[in-house]
């Protein structure tokens, strides 16, 4: 841990050309970040996880443009319409032609349940286009637009690539909008617990003694309580008449309030092991103040670990929000998150009639897996000096 600050190295020593020419000698002079990147690159699953995570966050940014319609649009005529498969080519006399379409619906009466059900009608064709004009929306609250990446060319005929829920709302659009809420809660919650964790973990590890003991007991206590019942109790206490945005922040605070303990442990462990390192002692003898010692010398050497732990704690936050919203204790419409969407699949009856309502669960699964792999790779790479 002698090389703690990348900036102390001359920049020319880390150019990629040098790395190619003589790997052995380049390793010895490469900066810490360079070494971490090399190590991270070797971790195949982590690279895939990183790319998928990036894609998910890009989706979260361009939600309005990417979704075919808005999540709140209710179409009572399309209750539980099944998913329509997107076809790119259409059969004509001159062979296959590029012309995206989906098959329309026809209504059948279920003789047993005496209920209207939608079936895909192979005869009907609904034209689908890319970059179509549809419902107007406000992009990032800045300007108005009605351009959608994909959608029906006919405003009267909606398309449901992933089916509709019990109110005829488009599941795909809801899921895309849900991406923004679910992923941002994870990110926001992590930053809140990052703050708490680094503050309390830092105090605990740096000063040791009684303070350390006290904080450690508190952490052990929080970890010993089963989280879901506790979250449920706290979330239920949020007043029901709060506006959606405030509920959103309330839920985030509740989740991160319990999530900071893991991070605090990592920070404390690092502080404890670094406290006795020679370079910290040197800084102290040099007359550096406590804050300078911490921020200038200690934090850079475990910053990478923190990033890795942060990444690994996002999935927990996402799962927490999903569980709470699923139980109707978390977010509520008009705010849509993946958990809010899964509320629709709460009982076996709706799952049996409309199994596609479980698809948001797949989104949770992919996001959590990707973040886990990414975090795992980052954690391995965070300590490049370790084999």
């Amino acid at each position: 841990m002698a090389v703690t600050d990348a900036k102390t190295l001359p920049p020319e020593t880390v150019s990629p050309r040098a790395a190619d020419a003589e790997i052995e000698s380049s390793v010895s002079v490469a900066s810490q970040w360079q070494l971490m990147w090399w190590k991270f690159r070797k971790h195949r699953a982590a690279m895939v996880g990183g790319v998928v995570t990036l894609i998910i966050y890009v989706i979260a940014i361009f939600v309005e443009f990417l979704s075919p319609s808005s999540p709140g649009v209710i179409r009572a005529d399309y209750t539980w319409a099944p998913p329509q498969q997107l076809h790119f080519f259409r059969q004509t006399e001159n062979g296959m032609r590029w012309d995206p379409y989906v098959n329309g619906y026809k209504v059948e009466i279920d003789p047993e349940a005496l209920r209207r059900t939608f079936v895909i009608d192979e005869e009907q064709i609904v034209d689908v286009g890319f970059f179509v004009r549809g419902e107007t929306y406000e992009m990032w609250g800045l300007w108005e637009s009605d351009l959608h990446l994909i959608g029906s060319t006919d405003a009267e005929l909606p398309v449901y690539f992933l089916g509709a829920d019990r109110m005829g709302r488009d599941l795909l659009s809801s899921m895309i909008y849900g991406t923004r809420v679910s992923m941002s809660i994870g990110l926001l919650g992590v930053f809140l617990s990052f703050f708490l964790g680094i503050l309390l973990g830092g105090i605990s590890g740096f000063y040791g003694g009684t303070v350390d003991n006290l904080i450690q007991r508190a952490i052990e206590f929080i970890r010993s309580i089963p989280t879901i019942p506790l979250w449920m109790g706290l979330a239920a206490a949020l007043p029901t008449d709060w506006p959606p945005l405030r509920i959103y922040f309330g839920i985030t605070i509740i989740i991160s309030f319990i999530g900071w303990t893991g991070l605090a442990r990592v920070v404390r462990g690092r502080f404890l092991s670094l406290r006795t390192e020679d370079f910290v002692m040197a800084a102290r003898l040099d007359g550096a103040s406590e804050l300078t010692t911490i921020w200038r010398h200690m934090v850079p050497s475990f910053f990478s670990h923190i990033i890795a732990s942060l990444t690994l704690s996002i999935p927990g936050m996402i799962l927490a929000e999903t569980s709470l919203s699923f139980l109707e204790l978390g977010l509520r419409r008009p705010v849509v998150s993946w958990g809010v969407l899964l509320q629709e699949a709460q009982n076996i009856r709706s799952v049996a009639t409309a199994s596609w309502l479980l698809i948001p669960g797949l989104a949770v699964l992919v996001a959590v897996l990707a973040l886990n792999f990414l975090g795992d790779g980052l954690r391995d790479a965070a300590d490049p000096y370790n084999r």
Binding site: M232, L342, V364
Partner: protein, 328 residues
Amino acid sequence: MLQFLLRRLMFMIPTLIAISIVAFVIIQLPPGDFLTTMVASMAAQGEDMDQSAMRALEEQYGLGQPVHIQYLKWMQGIILRGDFGDSFGWNKPVAELLWSRLALTFVLSLASLLFVWVVAFPIGIYSAVKQYSIGDYFATFIGFLGLATPNFLLALILMYIAFKFFNQSVGGLFSPEYQEAPWSWGRVADLLAHLWVPVVIIGTAGTASLIRVMRANLLDELRKPYVVTARAKGLPEWRLLFKYPVRIALNPFVSTVGWVLPTLVSGAAIVSIVLSLPTTGPLLIRALLQQDMYLAASFIMLLSILTVIGTLVSDLLLAWLDPRIRME
């Protein structure tokens, strides 16, 4: 050992007090006290609350008095009389609703823990011994998948599969004929026949992480020189494995119970709601949605205490397994 036990018990007291305070805070969190809610809900049903009954309740819970007095009154009732307060949603003392549900939660969590151990132990050993084999990769993959799937989603998917392909429902813990029946061997057998579905669902996440722990520990152990020595001496491979490395790798296995148990209890709560099991979960969520706070807080408190006791037992087990810990 006795000294160790006593010390651990002493450590538990502040934890228990802290848990009770958190539970009490949860009672206090919703706006207004429960009496006003109760009066409002009774007024909505067209009933008037008896003034003297109201005063008696006010006296019993110390309403209108400072918060710490209210807390002490609540604790006093629990410790001296086993009285957790009243559930106004059910119009019954909380204690009446509590115990049977809590007992089933306990059985469910314990069964899940056993399941986690029984599954994670051999797979963990296999993954470590055959590192980077197809089986190892498969176990790792399943493990990650188990970690990433929320419990309730797994419950929903299993319910859907059971409904779609086997045309049967998997909810509940008892068949209809045993639902209200008194305890008998038949009822126990019926419970066991239903128990495996929630146990498997709740156990997956814990199993995944324990497999990782077991694998990592055993790998560390297998690289040590004494293993090489033993192999050089010509010890059969299975004896070499089970004589020391597995035993040492098992220690963290036991100590992880401390954090596996809270996850299991958490998972049990949410899975019970989806599968509508007669455990604490469904009652807890109903109590929370109705703001039936004494019931909800009592559940949260007892679930937490149950977890802390479980952790204590695992610590004792660890101390019994590993002399270094109890000598510390």
